[in-house]
C-alpha cells in the first residue's frame, strides 16, 4: 500500500482496530514448547488461519503476520537461519489467503534478542542487513505494510526502520516497549522515541506489550504533543505468569476493553492487543471505540533527541558546547591519533556539567581516518552523555556515518550554499531526518552583507523544501566574522539574526570568532552574545566555561564598529604583568587544629608557616595541634559522625603539614618516630586500595611506612623488614584465594627468626583467621590499624 494512501485511510477511519496476541493462542492450540513457533505455524497453518480469521471476524482491519521471530538470529536457535526468506514468505501467504481486499496484512518484525552498538556488540549495519533480509521475505509474500514491534532498544528499532525504508516505500509502523517508568530498557523516553522515529520516516509510532492498558495511556499521552504521525497502542492483558505450565493473564477482556476510550482520547489511532489478548478482547474493544477528529502536527517539531531525551528548540536559549574539536588541543590530537577517547569523555562531561544542551562534535584533523574516528566517538557519546549532538565536519561521508549510527535526531553543522556539498548533503540529511545549520555562504565565498546572505538562505531553503524540509528543521547561522579585521561584521550578523527571527527561523552563531586576535576575549564574546540574544538569537556554539553575563560598554562600541582599529580596546584591556599577580586567599581565623579537623589541605601550609614565624617550635605544632586534631578526627570516625572521605581528607592534611615540618624536626634534632613499618598486599593479590589507606593513615601518625605495593612475594617482604629493622609488618589481602598467602609470610618470618610483629587486614580477613595463622593482630579498617600499631608499640597519644 502506498504511504500516502495509508495515512489517508487512517485519517478517514480515525481509529483502526488491529489484532491481538498469537503466540499464546497457538500454544493453547497445541504448539509445544521448545519448537520454532514460525515453523510450527507453517506446518500447522490451519490453526493460524483459524486464529487470524477469528480476529477478522472480531473486527480487526490489520492483521500481523506470524513472523515476530523470523529473523536470522532467532531462527538460528533452531538451525533455520537459511530459511529466512522462505519462512517469511510462506507466513505472509497464509495470512493473505484469508485477508480479502479489505484487510491489510502487516509484515511483523520483532527484536533479534541481541543489541546493536552502542549498547551491544552487533555492528549497526549488520543489524540493518538482518532486518533487510527478513523484510525481503515479507515483501516477497506481498505484505501491505510493515510493523516493527516490541522494540526495547531505539537503536534496534532504527535499524529495522532503515532496513524497510531502504528496500521499498511501503508504510512502516514502529512500536516500542516501555516499562512502568515510561522508559525503554536502554533509557529512551516516549518523547525521544517519537522525535527520533518520525524524523527517520516512520509512518505510525507507538507502544505495545510493556504493561497493561492503564499504564500505556500515559505513554501515548507523552508522545502525542510531538506527533506528526498517527499513534499506535497495543497493550498486554496485564502481566503474564505461568499457571500449570500455561501462560495466563490477569485482566479480563471486559476490563481490558474499558480502557479503549481512554487510549483513543490519549491520542492512539491504531489500537489492538498484545500478550494475553484474544479475539474476544478485540471484539469487546470494537464496541468501545470512539472516533474523535484526528489532530496531528503539521510539521515535525523543532527538536533534537539523544538515546534518552529530547531538546526542544525555541523553548529556551540553547548552548552548544564547542570543545570536542581537536583544533588547538594537543592532548586531544594525540589521543585521537592513538584511537583513545578519554579526553573526549572528559570534555563531554565538563561541558554537560557547565550547562551545554547539545555537544558539537568535530574530529577532523590530519593523520586520522575521520570516518572511523567519528564512528567511535559517536558510539561513546551516545551512552556517555544524555544530551543530543551536533555533527561538525566538512566531509559529507563523515556526516552520513554519524547520522546513520547515532541513536537520536542529529543537528548537522552545517549545510551551506556550496553547490557540490549541497547536492550531497540535503539527501543525506533528509534520509536520516536530521536538522541542519544553514551557513549562508556559497561557491563565491562569504557575502559581507546580511542582504546577500539572505539571498543564499532563500536559495538553499527552496531546494531543501524539495527534500521535505520545513522551517522547523533549519537553523540560520549568523556567520560571525572577526571584528578586528572586519569592524562592520558583527553589525551584519546582528542584522541577519533579526531577519531570521522576523521570518520565523531559529538562529545560531559560533561565538568565539568575533574576538579573535584581541585581548580579554571573554568580555567581547559575552557582550556580543547578549547583543545577539536581544536581536533574536536562540542558539550559540561556545565554550560553556565562559561567564556569559558580562556586558561591557567598550565591547559594545567595539562590536558596533565605533572603535577604530580596536585601538581603545587594546589599550584598555591588554593585561600587564602587574595585573597577573596572584592574590593569595585569606585564611582569617583558622587554626591548625581546625584545618586538620576539617581536612583543609589547601590552607594548612600557610597556617603552619605563620605559626612557625610566631616562634612556636615544630615539635609543639605536632604534639599540641596536629596529633590532638587527628585524634579528634579518629574519635569522630569511630562514632560514625565522620565517614571515610573525611578521615582521609584529614589524614591528607596531616601529610601536607608533616611535609613542611619534617625537615625542621630533623634540623632541630628532635627525635623522630623511629618505628619502621613494612606494608604489602600479599602475592597473587592485586587489590591495594585498603592497604594504601592504611599507609596514608600510619604515615600521618608519624610512622615510617615502607609500602612494597601489591602482589609481593613473601621473601621480599621478609627481606625488606629485616633490612629496615621493621617493628611491624602489615599484610593485606582481599580474596579467599590469596589470604592463605599471609600464613606463608608468617611461617617464613618465624623460620627466619624475624622479630617484627605481623598484623593483617582486608575484606575477607577476620580476627579468628588472624589467630588461626598466628598473626600478632588484626584491624578491620585503617583507623583500627593505627590504634593496633600504637598498642603494639606502646605509643600513647
Amino acid at each position: 500500500m502506498d504511504r500516502k494512501k495509508f495515512i489517508k485511510l487512517i485519517k478517514n477511519e480515525k481509529v483502526i482496530l488491529l489484532d491481538g496476541s498469537s503466540g499464546v493462542a497457538l500454544q493453547k492450540a497445541g504448539m509445544p514448547k521448545g519448537v520454532c513457533p514460525e515453523k510450527w505455524a507453517i506446518d500447522n497453518s490451519h490453526h493460524l488461519i483459524k486464529l487470524q480469521q477469528d480476529y477478522i471476524n472480531a473486527g480487526s482491519k490489520i492483521i500481523y503476520t506470524f513472523t515476530f521471530g523470523a529473523n536470522r538470529i532467532k531462527l538460528s536457535e533452531f538451525n533455520l537461519e537459511k530459511e529466512v526468506i522462505t519462512i517469511n514468505k510462506k507466513l505472509v501467504k497464509i495470512s493473505k489467503s484469508i485477508a480479502g481486499n479489505k484487510i491489510l496484512i502487516a509484515g511483523d518484525i520483532g527484536p533479534t534478542g541481541k543489541f546493536p552498538q552502542p549498547t551491544g556488540d552487533m555492528d549497526f549495519n549488520e543489524c540493518v542487513e538482518i532486518f533487510k533480509e527478513q523484510a525481503k521475505g515479507l515483501l516477497a509474500g506481498g505484505v501491505d505494510l510493515f510493523v516493527i514491534e516490541t522494540m526495547i532498544d531505539i537503536q534496534e528499532a532504527r535499524a529495522a526502520l532503515i532496513a524497510c525504508k531502504e528496500l521499498c516505500n511501503l508504510p512502516v509502523i514502529v512500536s516500542m516497549t516501555f516499562d512502568k517508568n515510561k522508559r525503554t530498557l536502554t533509557g529512551t523516553t516516549p518523547e525521544a522515541a517519537i522525535i527520533t522515529l518520525q524524523a527517520l520516516g516512520a509512518d505510525v509510532i507507538g507502544v505495545n506489550c510493556s504493561t497493561g492498558p492503564k499504564e500505556m495511556i500515559e505513554v501515548v499521552k507523552a508522545m502525542k504533543p510531538y506527533a506528526k504521525v498517527p499513534l499506535i497502542a497495543k497493550p498486554n492483558a496485564g502481566l503474564p505468569r505461568l499457571l500449570n505450565n500455561q501462560t495466563v493473564f490477569d485482566m479480563s477482556a471486559r476490563e481490558f476493553a474499558l480502557y479503549t476510550k481512554d487510549l483513543i482520547k490519549a491520542g492512539a489511532n491504531l489500537i489492538g492487543g498484545c500478550c494475553g489478548t484474544t479475539p474476544e478482547y478485540i471484539s469487546l474493544m470494537k464496541k468501545n471505540i470512539i472516533k474523535p477528529k484526528l489532530k496531528l502536527k503539521k510539521e515535525i517539531p523543532s527538536a533534537l533527541s539523544s538515546y534518552q531525551k529530547i531538546i526542544e528548540i525555541g523553548k529556551e536559549f540553547i548552548l552548544v558546547g564547542e570543545r570536542i574539536n581537536p583544533t588547538g588541543k594537543k592532548n586531544l590530537q594525540e589521543e585521537l591519533k592513538k584511537g583513545v577517547t578519554n579526553e573526549i569523555r572528559n570534555l563531554a562531561f565538563e561541558q554537560v556539567e557547565r550547562g551545554a544542551s547539545i555537544l558539537d562534535v568535530n574530529v577532523g584533523m590530519p593523520g586520522i581516518d575521520e570516518k572511523e574516528t567519528m564512528k567511535k566517538v559517536i558510539n561513546l557519546l551516545s551512552t556517555a552523555v544524555d544530551i543530543p549532538i551536533c555533527v561538525d565536519s566538512s566531509s559529507p561521508e563523515v556526516i552520513e556515518q554519524a547520522l546513520r549510527i547515532y541513536p537520536g535526531r542529529v543537528l548537522i553543522n552545517s549545510i551551506s550554499g556550496e553547490s557540490k556539498k549541497l547536492k550531497k548533503l540535503l539527501p543525506i540529511a533528509s534520509k536520516y531526518g536530521a536538522m541542519f545549520i544553514l551557513l549562508p555562504l556559497d561557491d563565491r565565498g562569504v557575502p559581507e552583507t546580511a542582504l546577500n546572505r539572505q539571498k543564499i538562505i532563500k536559495k538553499v531553503i527552496k531546494l531543501a523544501k524539495k527534500f521535505g524540509f520545513a522551517k522547523n528543521d533549519i537553523i540560520i547561522d549568523g556567520l560571525v566574522m572577526t571584528v578586528s579585521s572586519k569592524p562592520d561584521a558583527p553589525k551584519e550578523t546582528l542584522k541577519l539574526i533579526k531577519w531570521a527571527k522576523k521570518n520565523g527561523f531559529n538562529s545560531i552563531i559560533g561565538l568565539s570568532n568575533v574576538s579573535f586576535g584581541l585581548p580579554q576575549r571573554h568580555i567581547i564574546n559575552s557582550t556580543f552574545l547578549n547583543m545577539a540574544k536581544k536581536a533574536g538569537l536562540n542558539f550559540v556554539i561556545a565554550n560553556p566555561s565562559y561567564d556569559f553575563n558580562i556586558i561591557n560598554k567598550d565591547a559594545i562600541n567595539l562590536l558596533l564598529g565605533k572603535d577604530k582599529n580596536c585601538k581603545k580596546w587594546i589599550e584598555r584591556y591588554t593585561i600587564t604583568a602587574e595585573d597577573k599577580k596572584i592574590h593569595t586567599k585569606s585564611t582569617k581565623s583558622k587554626t591548625i587544629y581546625d584545618a586538620v579537623l576539617n581536612g583543609e589541605k589547601e590552607i594548612i601550609g600557610e597556617l603552619i608557616n605563620s605559626t612557625l614565624i610566631k616562634g612556636v617550635k615544630p615539635q609543639n605544632i605536632v604534639d599540641d595541634m596536629l596529633i590532638p586534631a587527628i585524634n579528634h578526627v579518629g574519635e569522630l570516625y569511630d562514632k560514625k559522625i565522620y565517614f571515610l572521605p573525611q578521615l582521609i581528607a584529614s589524614a591528607d592534611t596531616m601529610k601536607k603539614a608533616f611535609s613542611i615540618l619534617e625537615p625542621l624536626l630533623l634540623k632541630s634534632n628532635i627525635k623522630k618516630q623511629e618505628n619502621n613499618i613494612v606494608l604489602a598486599t600479599v602475592k597473587g593479590d592485586i587489590h591495594d586500595i585498603g592497604k594504601n589507606i592504611v599507609a596514608l593513615m600510619l604515615k600521618n601518625y608519624g610512622y615510617n611506612v615502607y609500602d612494597l605495593g601489591k602482589d609481593v612475594d613473601s621473601k621480599i617482604i621478609i627481606s625488606k623488614a629485616r633490612q629496615l629493622n621493621a617493628k611491624i609488618i602489615g599484610l593485606s589481602a582481599l580474596m579467599t584465594t590469596t589470604m592463605v598467602e599471609m600464613k606463608t609470610v608468617i611461617e617464613l618470618a618465624k623460620k627466619e627468626k624475624l622479630q617484627s610483629k605481623i598484623i593483617i587486614g582486608g575484606a575477607v580477613i577476620t580476627e579468628s583467621f588472624a589467630n588461626e595463622i598466628g598473626a600478632d593482630g588484626y584491624a578491620k579498617d585503617a583507623y583500627e590499624a593505627v590504634k593496633l600499631v600504637d598498642k603494639i608499640l606502646n605509643n600513647k597519644r
Binding site: 526495547i152 530498557l185 506489550c209 572521605p645 573525611q646 584465594t737
Partner: protein, 208 residues
C-alpha cells in the same frame, strides 16, 4: 536452548549515590558533613561515574543437578550447597558479568599516589557500585524478556560468597568468553580490571 553469548559494550546504568556513600561509611542520620564537602563529594562521584565504561555479558545454560552439584555437562560442574538451594526450581541458569573498565582504576591509583586520596576512595567505591549496577541492569533486561513467558530470575549469587568457591570465576569466565569485553583472569582467579563482577542466577517460573 540458546547458548549464545550476548555482549553489552555500553550499559547506560548509574550506581545510586546513596549506595556509593554507604560503601565508604556514610551512615544516614549519624554522619555529619558540611554543605561544601557534600557538594565536593557529589562532584567527585559524578566525575567518577564519568570514568566508568560499563560493559557486560550474559548467556543462558541448561543445567542438571545432583545433590549439591550443578552440572553444565558431564565434565563441567559447580559444587555448592548454597547455590544448589537457590537453583532448586531451575533447570536453566544465566551466567552474567559486568566490568567498569581499567580507566577508573588507573585514575584511582594515580590519585592515591600523587593526587587526592579522598577522590581515590570515591573512585574506588563508585567503580564497585557501578559494576554491581551493571549486573542489576542485565537482570532487569532478562526479567523483561522472561516475563513474556511467565518466567523470571532468582536472585544472583557470586563466586567468593558463602560456599561458592572463587575458582568458579574461571568457569564463568570461560563460558562467557570475557576477554571480549576486556576482562582477564589471574591464576588466583582474580579479575582484571579489578572492578569486574560475575554472577549466576536461576530461571524460575513466576509465582502464581
Amino acid at each position: 536452548m540458546n547458548n549464545k553469548i550476548n555482549y553489552f559494550y555500553n550499559i547506560k546504568k548509574e550506581a545510586e549515590n546513596k549506595k556509593i556513600l554507604f560503601r565508604i561509611g556514610y551512615k544516614s542520620g549519624i554522619t555529619k558533613i558540611s554543605k561544601k564537602d557534600e557538594k565536593e563529594i557529589n562532584l567527585m562521584i559524578k566525575k567518577s561515574k564519568n570514568l566508568c565504561s560499563l560493559k557486560g555479558a550474559y548467556s543462558r545454560f541448561k543445567i542438571f543437578k545432583n545433590k549439591d552439584k550443578i552440572f553444565f555437562n558431564k565434565k563441567i560442574f559447580i559444587k555448592s550447597k548454597n547455590l544448589s538451594k537457590l537453583l532448586i526450581d531451575s533447570d536453566e541458569v544465566v551466567l552474567m558479568a559486568a566490568t567498569v573498565g581499567q580507566e577508573i582504576i588507573n585514575e584511582r591509583d594515580k590519585q592515591m599516589k600523587n593526587g587526592d586520596p579522598v577522590y581515590s576512595i570515591i573512585l574506588d567505591a563508585t567503580a564497585s557500585e557501578t559494576a554491581d549496577a551493571g549486573l542489576d541492569w542485565i537482570q532487569d533486561f532478562l526479567n523483561t524478556i522472561l516475563a513474556k513467558n511467565g518466567m523470571q530470575l532468582t536472585r544472583r549469587y557470586s563466586p567468593g560468597y558463602g560456599d561458592l568457591d572463587i575458582s568458579v570465576q574461571k568457569i564463568i569466565y570461560k563460558k562467557l568468553d570475557l576477554k571480549k569485553i576486556g576482562i582477564r583472569i589471574t591464576k588466583k582467579y582474580l579479575l582484571i580490571p579489578e572492578k569486574s563482577v560475575l554472577a549466576i542466577a536461576g530461571i524460575i517460573k513466576t509465582e502464581n
